[in-house]
């Protein structure tokens, strides 16, 4: 440690505490999101909360911002104990949060959005006057934006500024930012950091939720790492730690429960993806140049924090999204930009993330749901008519084979538990002996028994010769099931590894370091 760093660390540890959270416990049905969490924020610092999805960082911050109420634990703001029952209370105490999904009304102007919900002006809205005030506020904090513009006309970066101004206008002293750079184009990020620094100069304190190590190292003063609801590294001083250490704290090491995975010799290439690019719903690039292949009998696991392009990749492969460049081959045939039914006929099975809205028809029965793919074919189809007894037999078979627990096959699927609904979807998709299975977060939200069941099914399909693309946020799951693991970060594949021994490498890749760099031993250089 140099003298400079000592001085810096002395300065950092002697600032007063803005926020202190002690022993926070927050539960949701089935999961302990925050498990005795301590956290503190000093005045004038930028403090990052680092962790994977499901680590509990957003929950913790939602508690601080007044959206959730903790089961137990105390919060102190500037030394005083506080009890928030709504976001308004938090804002009155000076704490404002900018969420990943902006809460802005698209058809209204910047000024109108900022003034929404306030007491002044009471009745008459003299917008011109407030336009000026907001323009000045923007200049002061380096958050310039045209107050008269309508939100839908603004770029995402500009919209983010509006959210920030919204909080600053309300006098927020503490700003909580949830994955703020996830929506920014790379060119906007440096400008964003400048903004953060100027806000800190004006006396604000910032909490920054992120999974991107490079940014964490670039801009924050201290880092707290969370994993599975617990804090694994409290308030480390950024300048005194390394990326290696942070990545390690983030992914950690858990008890891996073993599933019997038989060795299978991979066969022909089933899925070949070459140089695909595509855009996300907002028109920003989601995939930059992704290439890989999967052979029959292989499971390729795709790791990565949510929001880095996994969803869009699955959608491109299954035909639900246009790809703007590159090609996708399924068993030798090009399927890029063809409708989903085209690929389905060629042996594609899709187990989507959203079981109720994408994967099933909630009010229809189990029978109706499982015949969605083969109702046009014999024997379920009989010319124009459906052979109901065949459909019923089919459904019964699947119900038994896949252990679907339900009162009867006539039950509407919205009544089923998550695990059983997933079994219905799997039954439908797998029973057709697909060549390729794209499974996105297949065990999310399921209980232990259901998780094991789903994983066994996937392994069985692997032995039967299907090629499987498994997108998951659970590293243990990827280790248990995959033959190879690729990591996606900001629309690029960072590299591919073979197993658990490369845990740290995976952690580093998930936070932005490409594999070649890791192998070379360098972790401090920019991506």
């Amino acid at each position: 440690m140099t003298n400079e760093m000592t001085k810096a660390s002395i300065k950092e540890t002697s600032q007063p505490l803005m926020v202190e959270m002690r022993g926070i416990i927050k539960r949701f049905p089935g999961v302990l999101a925050n498990d005795h969490v301590d956290f503190d924020l000093r005045q004038g610092e930028i403090h990052t909360l680092l962790g994977e999805n499901g680590a509990g960082k957003s929950t913790l911050m939602n508690v601080l911002a007044g959206l959730y109420r903790q089961e137990s634990g105390t919060i102190y703001v500037k030394g005083r104990e506080v009890d928030f029952s709504s976001p308004r209370d938090a804002i009155n105490a000076g704490i404002g949060m900018v969420h990943q999904h902006f809460m802005l009304v698209p058809s209204q102007t910047v000024t109108e959005n900022i003034l929404l919900g306030l007491d002044k002006p009471r009745f008459r809205m003299n917008l011109a006057e407030y336009d000026q005030i907001i323009a000045d506020l923007g200049k002061r904090f380096g958050l310039e934006v045209d107050p008269k513009a309508k939100i839908w006309q603004l770029s995402v970066g500009e919209q983010q500024r509006v959210e920030l101004l919204k909080m600053l206008y309300r006098g927020a002293q503490v700003l909580i930012l949830d994955e703020p750079t996830a929506v920014l184009a790379p060119v906007e990020i440096e400008g964003f950091f400048q903004t953060l620094r100027s806000m800190v100069k004006e006396g604000k304190s910032v909490i920054f939720i992120s999974h991107k190590l490079q940014e964490v190292m670039d801009v924050s003063d201290r880092v707290t790492v969370m994993r599975k609801g617990k804090v694994t590294a409290p308030g480390l001083i950024t300048s005194q730690t390394t990326r290696q250490e942070l990545a390690h704290q983030m992914v950690g090491r858990d008890v891996v429960f073993h599933i019997d995975k038989k060795p299978v010799v991979p066969g022909e290439v089933v899925l070949k993806v070459e140089d695909i690019k595509c855009e996300n719903d907002k028109g920003l690039p989601a995939l930059n140049s992704v290439s890989f292949e999967i052979r029959s009998g292989e499971i390729l696991g795709l790791a990565g924090v949510a929001g880095n392009g996994q969803r869009e990749l699955a959608q491109v492969i299954t035909g639900m999204r246009k790809c703007t460049n590159g090609t996708v081959w399924l068993s030798g045939e090009e399927i890029c930009n063809h409708p989903a039914s085209f690929s389905i006929q060629r042996g594609l099975a899709y187990v989507p993330e959203d079981r109720t809205h994408e994967g099933s028809s909630p009010n229809l029965s189990i029978t109706d749901n499982v015949i969605m793919k083969n109702y046009r074919k014999h024997p379920i189809s009989n010319g124009w008519m459906l052979n109901v007894s065949e459909a019923v037999n089919f459904a019964e078979e699947l119900k038994n084979a896949y252990n679907i627990i339900a009162p009867s096959i006539k039950t509407p699927v919205r009544m089923l538990s998550g695990g059983n609904l997933q079994r219905v979807i799997l039954a439908r998709e797998i029973s057709g002996k697909p060549a390729l299975i794209v499974a996105v977060q297949p065990t999310r939200g399921l209980d232990v028994g259901a998780i094991e069941g789903v994983q066994r099914l996937l392994l069985a399909q692997r032995e039967a010769g299907s090629a499987i693309l498994l997108v998951s946020e659970e590293l243990e799951e990827l280790f248990a099931l995959s033959d190879r693991i690729a990591v996606i970060y900001e629309g690029n594949l960072m590299g591919e590894v073979h197993g658990e021994n490369d845990l740290d490498a995976i952690g580093l890749m998930m936070t932005g370091t490409p594999l070649e760099q890791i192998r070379k031993g360098g972790t401090e250089t920019n991506v």
Binding site: S86, P87, R88, H101, M103, L104, V105, P106, S107, Q108, E112, N113, L115, L116, G117, L118, P121, R122, F123, R124, M125, L127, W152
Partner: protein
């Protein structure tokens, strides 16, 4: 020329009733609630206004009761759609049946009740002398019409330039954002559905106490409530366009009724003079016109980025992300 002016002037009257109903529905829809029960509420308003006016001799009391009755009816719809989160389309249709049915039941025998003191009609002294526009807009119109003229800019101002108006618009566009800033989405929607009811009742009173005085069962409103709903789309939820559409429609409707009357129009023989053949096709015009208006409105909405309030028709469920 005179004939045309008379027709247009009469059209303003019908147009005013339409205007109130349309703007009422605009308020409701801008808060995110589709209320298809306008026809039922209007009929209830018409019946109540006439009935109370006959019984008490006070037409203003009739107007008041009409507005409250329709407003009360609207709250049933609000309860079902906002609190119980049921489907807004079916609930609105049910409301139409209910409103119509109740009007018929309570209005039984009303048409034989006798004459009623109508609300005053008058002309505005100076304005009535403006060439062409004067005789149309300011001559011998019912007081409702003048109320309508004043009401229109006030409505625009309220929606676009006041805080309550801002709240209204946010709740209809992105209720989650409004909720996150402390605005009570449910209360706002209840309120503006009520406002829609009040105005529909007013529209009904306008008809039964001024435009076509009397009670003629279902014919009293003659489908104007439905046309109002179509006009909301044409108006793109904007009061000024609503006014334009309402008055134009009112004029069209009168034109159809009256054009078959005079033998001579503008010095030429009237081709429509009591021609039984053409009369029926003229009757179709307003409705065909509404459909065309809908097509134009829908295409416009598809093209431009303005359109229906984004949350229209969807119940607000807290905790649901992405609107």
């Amino acid at each position: 020329m005179d004939a045309i002016i008379i027709i247009l002037a009469a059209g303003i009257g019908t147009g005013t009733a339409l205007l109130f109903a349309t703007i009422g529905e605009i308020f409701a829809e801008r808060s995110g609630v589709l209320n298809l029960g306008v026809e039922g509420m209007m009929l209830l308003g018409a019946m109540s206004a006439y009935s109370v006016a006959v019984k008490t001799g006070n037409p203003w009391l009739g107007v008041l009761v009409a507005m409250l009755a329709a407003g009360l009816l609207s709250q049933i719809h609000a309860f079902i759609t906002v609190t119980l989160q049921a489907d807004q389309v079916v609930s609105g249709l049910a409301l139409t049946f209910l409103g119509t049915g109740i009007s018929l039941v309570l209005g039984e025998g009303l048409s034989k009740a006798g004459t009623v003191a109508l609300l005053p009609s008058f002309s505005i002294p100076l304005l009535t002398r403006i060439p062409i526009l004067g005789p149309i807009f300011f001559t011998n119109q019912s007081i409702f019409v003048y109320i309508g003229y004043i009401f229109l800019p006030l409505t625009w101002y309220y929606i676009n330039r006041t805080r309550p108006g801002l709240n209204l618009r946010s709740v209809g566009e992105y209720p989650a954002a409004a909720d996150s800033l402390g605005i009570n989405v449910f209360r706002t929607r209840y309120l503006y559905v009520f406002v829609g009811g009040l105005l529909a009742g007013l529209a009904g009173a306008t008809i039964s106490l001024a435009i076509s005085p009397g009670w003629f069962s279902e014919l009293t409103t003659g489908g104007l409530g439905w046309i109002a709903i179509g006009l909301v789309i044409f108006a793109q939820w904007d009061p000024w366009r609503a006014a334009f559409g309402s008055y134009a429609f009112g004029a069209l409707r009168r034109l159809i009724l009256d054009i078959q009357g005079p033998m001579v129009i503008m010095g030429m023989r009237n081709p429509f003079f009591y021609d039984p053949y053409l009369g029926f096709f003229l009757q179709m015009l307003p409705y065909a016109f509404t459909i065309i208006v809908l097509v134009i409105g829908s295409r416009e909405a598809m093209r431009k980025r303005i359109g229906a309030p984004a949350a229209l028709g969807n119940p607000y469920i807290r905790g649901e992300r992405g609107l």
